[in-house]
């Protein structure tokens, strides 16, 4: 019985005395029904909330996507006429304006997400690995690097909005006035440049999370591995390739998935950066759906788009989990 040894690690001496052999059957004393019901009781608050705020709205959202839901029916949405698959066919008719815009927004989001996640991962991992050893100022640097992550989105993004201003922004001042890289000051929050503006802000805000997770992952790698490798004559580069990166693999699998979902679904950053209507080059899907619902007042179409987005995310996540779990299995063999 391990109970005794573990209990003796606890401060309470009472525990040690009582957990003599035989008494370990103690939990049985609690009533059977109580024991069976207890986990459900503990889960109840979370369950009720999840139902109210996530699952029921999702079902309603799906129902809404089959309705002709415009602002006229919003007060009493149950009475809105059925639309069948109309909202869906409008959304996926890619040669018509609504569908074309959705498809465009989808590709912008994919490109943006891949670039942003890739850069966040790269910068975060590099920083974590460079800071694996102790050196002077490491603690300060680490705290500093977490600042973008800790800042509230609107405060951080609004600062970037200021920096991207056409006339009085830092970016144009540096690129045009100081470095003379551009013929005339550029617009960053409208037009094609807005994609890069969004990407910059997203990476600035997002990489510290990768840094944090990879740092946590690095702490789990036993130091002996490096010592043994160093004794065998493995250089830093080989240690990185043979020990660090493979050990980080399970961490990275979770990290990349989480970063992907967060970036793909990000609403706050583009919304604060551009407002209710994003420029075409940076028209991320969540803002696009928001605009379809709350600016053009077509909630039915907006819901259909949301459901399509959800299906896409389910498929991507499913495939990703399948691939990574298979990878993990083969790695074990």
């Amino acid at each position: 019985m391990t109970t005794t040894t573990a209990a003796s690690a606890e401060p309470g001496e009472r525990t040690v005395r009582k957990s003599s052999p035989g008494a370990a059957r103690g939990p049985r004393r609690t009533g059977r029904i109580k024991r069976i019901g207890l986990p459900y009781l503990l889960l109840l608050p979370a369950l009720v909330l999840e139902l109210l705020v996530h699952l029921v709205p999702m079902v309603i959202g799906i129902v809404m996507s089959f309705k002709e839901l415009t602002q006229f029916y919003i007060r009493d949405w149950g009475t809105a006429p059925w639309a069948g698959f109309d909202n869906y066919s409008v959304s996926v008719h890619f040669d018509e304006p609504v569908g074309e815009a959705l498809l465009h927004s989808f590709f912008v989001t994919i490109g943006f997400t891949l670039l942003s996640v890739g850069l966040c991962w790269l910068i975060g991992t590099a920083a974590a690995i460079y800071m694996q050893d102790t050196f002077r100022g490491r603690g300060i640097l680490r705290a500093l690097f977490l600042v973008p992550y800790a800042l509230p989105v609107y405060a951080a993004v609004i600062t970037w909005v200021f920096m991207f201003q056409h006339d009085n922004g830092l970016v144009n001042h540096v690129l045009h006035d100081q470095l003379h890289l551009t013929d005339k000051p550029s617009f960053w929050l409208i037009g094609d440049n807005s994609f890069y503006a969004l990407l910059t802000v997203s990476v600035w805000k997002g990489w510290p999370f990768a840094f944090l997770i990879v740092m946590a992952g690095l702490q789990n790698i036993p130091g002996e591995l490096y010592e043994a490798a160093a004794l065998d004559g493995a250089g830093l580069w080989q240690q990185l390739r043979r020990i660090t990166l493979p050990s980080l693999r399970p961490v990275n699998q979770v990290l990349v998935l989480v970063l992907f979902l967060w970036t793909f679904n990000d609403f706050n950053t583009p919304f604060v950066l551009f407002g209710k209507t994003a420029p075409e080059a940076a028209d991320l899907i969540s803002v696009h759906i928001y605009q379809a619902s709350f600016v053009t007042w077509n909630f039915g179409t907006g819901s259909a788009m949301s459901v399509l987005l959800l299906l896409f995310l389910l498929v991507v996540t499913g495939v990703y989990l399948l691939l990574t779990s298979r990878g993990r299995k083969t790695a074990d063999v």
């Binding site: 370990a24 207890l38 608050p45 694996q132 009085n168 992952g217 010592e227 979902l261």
Partner: protein, 289 residues
Amino acid sequence: MSSTTTHRSPMAPPRSFLWSRRIFLTLLTGFVLVPVYVMVSSSLKPLADVSGKFRWLPSGLTLRPYIDIWSTVPLAKYFANSLIVAGAATICSVVIAVFSAYAVSRYSFRGKRVFTVTVLSTQMFPGILFLLPLFLIYVNIGNATGIALFGSRGGLILTYLTFSLPFSIWMLIGYFDSVPRDLDEAALVDGCGPLGALFRVVVPAAIPGIVAVAVYAFMTAWGEVLFASVMTNDDTRTLAVGLQGYSTLNDVYWNQIMAASLVVSVPVVAGFLLLQRYLVAGLTAGAVK
């Protein structure tokens, strides 16, 4: 878990490594710091300075923006709203997550897998998906019961606490799993009820994870924009929406915007930096298994 736990290779790294590290970390520090510098320096500039061409150094320093921010918009009210909403959402979400994670970590029961998968998968759904249905539900509940959820702080609290809940439960399950089961079994033997075991043994042992979850929940609520901008009215407006008030038709008070941004950021950033080692520890045990 102190910051010095990771020693790596016993031999000194080569010069080339040191140089590449120096260059990389310097560039990265610049990237991180420039917006912070802009925020701080602009908040101390007179309006003429921030309306004209950008300049690295202010022509004169003034604390005026820090005084004016409170009267240009009712910042104190927004601040209080944010504090109430984020605080309440954090407390509720931590308590609920502790119970759920304890159930999942310590008991086997029918539907356990369904529960964890469902909770986790809500993480991946875009917030925009819930916005309109939730708005309708809150309005309906309001009409049926008279409980005002739409436009009230209560509705926002309810919404926010479920946003942080999946991640919190997920992290705490991992954290509770790392607390040796024998410890709370011993407490049960000792005559504690399951809740006694939870609060006397598991919770104290999992404090870093719980702190991490609380920090995360607070930051999520403090920084949320979408629901705050749709679901609040003049009285319940949070900082996320309130900061937009500094741009008027005539003027954009950039110095005040920066001052206000700084003021609303300081509590979270300070709290985060103070507690970040718990967050790292929590992530080690929870998210990163």
